[in-house]
């Protein structure tokens, strides 16, 4: 219906390949490829049409290419039923895909220095972002972390597209021994970064936001919350985010995100309903006392 909005397509699989600890699937999906902007994701139906596995699986788009009219690639690791089924797809199988979903990473107007910090499979959306930023004349530096060497995402590509690429592993099997945030501060200083872009597990995003804030630069994070629909219908994917007006709302990460300003996400309250969130049990009282305070002042 909507020229810019997501579409639902049955896409032929072009290839499924192993990339270290991950699988990479490339599908022919011109409608999704031409709409895509970095940070957006697809949701994939798994198990076939009459499957008892109803919920789609969300995956960040890792790459789009003009080949075959427009192909889309995403990477995943096998976690459970759905990803196991996906890993068994072969070329020419059809996948029912909805995308591109969610809000993309906002791009800077001027060429600035950008550091891209990813954890595990959370690095996926940072690669197309790096290309977009480079096209705008931005300097790009990568910091990629993972549990072990085979879980560091596309290290070679990172080295190729970025000015510098720093790697960290929890077990020290590759790059710096430690977490992404152990290396991030140094990179920000060395590269004189103006902005941080990040994607990965929630605790990592919280730390990345803290490091960026300590350096006084803005940070854009892409979050991962469990989603039943990915299309804004079900309200299962919410996290507390502070709006421009200072009010915390439970917002849908699938539609209003997955990308947010890091400082606006209430990381410590993810998984709860903060007492002062709009519509929380204590909200009205809190809100009313706010008004009284202001009136008194």
């Amino acid at each position: 219906m909507n020229e810019q909005g997501p579409v639902q397509i049955r896409c032929p699989v072009l290839t499924v390949r192993r990339v270290d600890a991950y699988y990479a699937i490339t599908v022919v999906a011109p409608g999704i490829a031409e709409r895509f902007r970095a940070g957006q994701f697809v949701s994939v139906a798994v198990g076939g049409e009459q499957s008892s596995t109803l919920l789609r699986r969300p995956f960040a788009i890792h790459d789009v290419k003009p080949d075959y009219g427009g192909t889309v690639e995403f990477l995943f690791s096998v976690r459970g039923q759905g990803t196991a089924w996906l890993s068994e797809r072969r070329s020419r199988d059809l996948l029912d895909i909805v995308g591109p979903l969610g809000r993309p990473f906002p791009l800077p107007r001027d060429p600035v220095n950008c550091v891209l910090a990813g954890g595990g499979s959370g690095a996926a959306p940072l690669f197309p972002l790096a290309l977009s930023l480079r096209r705008r004349g931005c300097r790009v530096d990568f910091v990629l972390g993972a549990a072990s060497a085979d879980r560091v995402f596309s290290a070679i590509t990172a080295r190729r597209v970025a000015e510098t690429a720093t790697f960290t592993t929890d077990d020290g099997s590759f790059g710096v021994h430690g977490a992404v945030t152990d290396a991030l501060g140094r990179v920000i200083e060395d590269a004189r970064s103006d902005v941080v872009y990040s994607c990965g597990p929630m605790p990592m995003l919280r730390e990345v936001t803290a490091v960026a804030s300590a350096h006084g630069i803005p940070v854009q994070v892409a979050v991962e919350e469990t989603m039943a629909c990915g299309t804004g219908l079900c309200m299962t994917c919410v996290i507390p985010v502070v709006g421009e007006d200072g009010i915390t709302r439970m917002v849908r990460t699938c539609m209003d995100g997955p990308v947010f300003r890091g400082e606006r996400v209430r990381f410590d309250d993810v998984g709860t309903i903060p007492f002062d969130a709009l519509g929380a049990p204590g909200w009205k009282a809190h809100h009313d006392s706010d008004v009284t305070d202001r009136e008194a002042g």
Binding site: P6, L54, C229, V238, L278, G279
Partner: protein, 320 residues
């Protein structure tokens, strides 16, 4: 010639019987990205409350065999936003609106109904009775026919007479027919059946309930036989009361099943999550099966399963 799909919910006529279920279609706007919402019978909006509501903490969902377990806690922006933003948008796109209301007391339901039935473009008000009743020691309004009747009558007396009021029932109550009868006697014009079924799933890794708050609502094809049974039973007892049937509808054939059991219209819930164009696909499949069977009018199908003759079995032993 394509079959006549028109159907009636009390005095309201819908172009076709395929609707969306409350809480499974946003406000219609989200689905409109995938198809023209004016093509389906009606959109039921998420249950709205007087005030904004933040809902339950995450995780709010877990996948279960042929279904899902969810606990969103009726998160929503409150009735003002519905009336100022969502409803006008839906009407402007030619959508038909069933507005679902939820409250913590009969008075609250009544107040909601008063404000909503004055708004232009409201075709039906649906009462979500599966809300905890603070006066009922944590039980739901629908657990007690008297409480349910009190709510229905509060809504009816605050609603314009030309707007039908439908009471939405959950299947896991001690006496469904008694409850349905109480709602109709309280001047409800019709019934919506069924809401999700209470249940729990335990995360195999943590050995803790998988959705925050423990219990959730089971929905999706897993509950379809329960839902069809409820519609069948209530239609048998109250054959002249229009029913919106729902629970696990996935295909056109499933719609046929609900119509045969006695529903006048059928709402699509969880499958919208799996397939955002499900409603129009289901509508197409329905037309195809009707064509194949040579059925020319939907109206002829409603309650078919209760008739002693024909393809459908007319005995009730399955519900005993």
């Amino acid at each position: 010639m394509s079959p006549d799909l028109r159907t009636r919910l009390s005095n309201v006529e819908l172009e076709n019987p395929v609707m969306t279920a409350a809480g499974c279609a946003g406000s219609g706007r989200e689905l409109a990205q995938y198809f023209d919402i004016a093509r389906i019978g009606a959109v039921t909006t998420k249950s709205v409350m007087l005030e904004p509501r933040a809902g339950r903490p995450a995780p709010r969902v877990a996948e279960t065999p042929s279904g899902m377990l969810s606990a969103t806690g009726l998160q929503g922006p409150g009735v003002d936003v519905l009336l100022q933003r969502d409803l006008p948008w839906l009407i402007s796109r030619g959508g038909r609106a069933v507005v679902s209301v939820a409250g913590g007391s009969a008075g609250e339901y009544g107040e909601l109904a008063r404000r909503i039935s004055d708004a232009p473009g409201v075709d039906v008000i649906e009462i979500n009775l599966s809300c905890p009743n603070p006066a009922g020691q944590g039980r739901h309004f629908a657990d007690d026919p008297e409480e349910a009747a009190r709510v229905v009558s509060a809504v009816r007396s605050h609603t314009r007479s030309d707007v039908p009021v439908f009471a939405k029932l959950a299947p896991d109550v001690p006496d469904l027919v008694g409850l349905a009868t109480a709602c109709v006697e309280a001047r409800g014009d019709g019934l919506s059946m069924v809401n999700s079924v209470r249940g729990m799933t335990i995360d195999p890794r943590t050995l803790r309930p998988a959705v925050a708050g423990g219990m959730g609502g089971l929905s999706g094809p897993a509950i379809r036989p329960i839902a069809v049974g409820c519609v069948y039973e209530v239609h048998a007892a109250l054959p002249h009361v229009p029913i919106i049937g729902m629970g696990g509808v996935r295909t056109g054939a499933d719609v046929l099943e609900f119509l045969a059991a006695g529903a006048s219209a059928v709402a699509v819930g969880t499958i919208n999550f799996a397939d955002p164009s499900a409603c129009v696909r289901i509508l197409r499949e329905l037309e195809e099966t009707l064509d194949d069977r040579g059925v020319t009018r939907i109206a002829d199908l409603i309650g078919t399963a209760h008739r002693p003759m024909g393809a459908a079995l007319g005995n009730t032993s399955a519900t005993l």
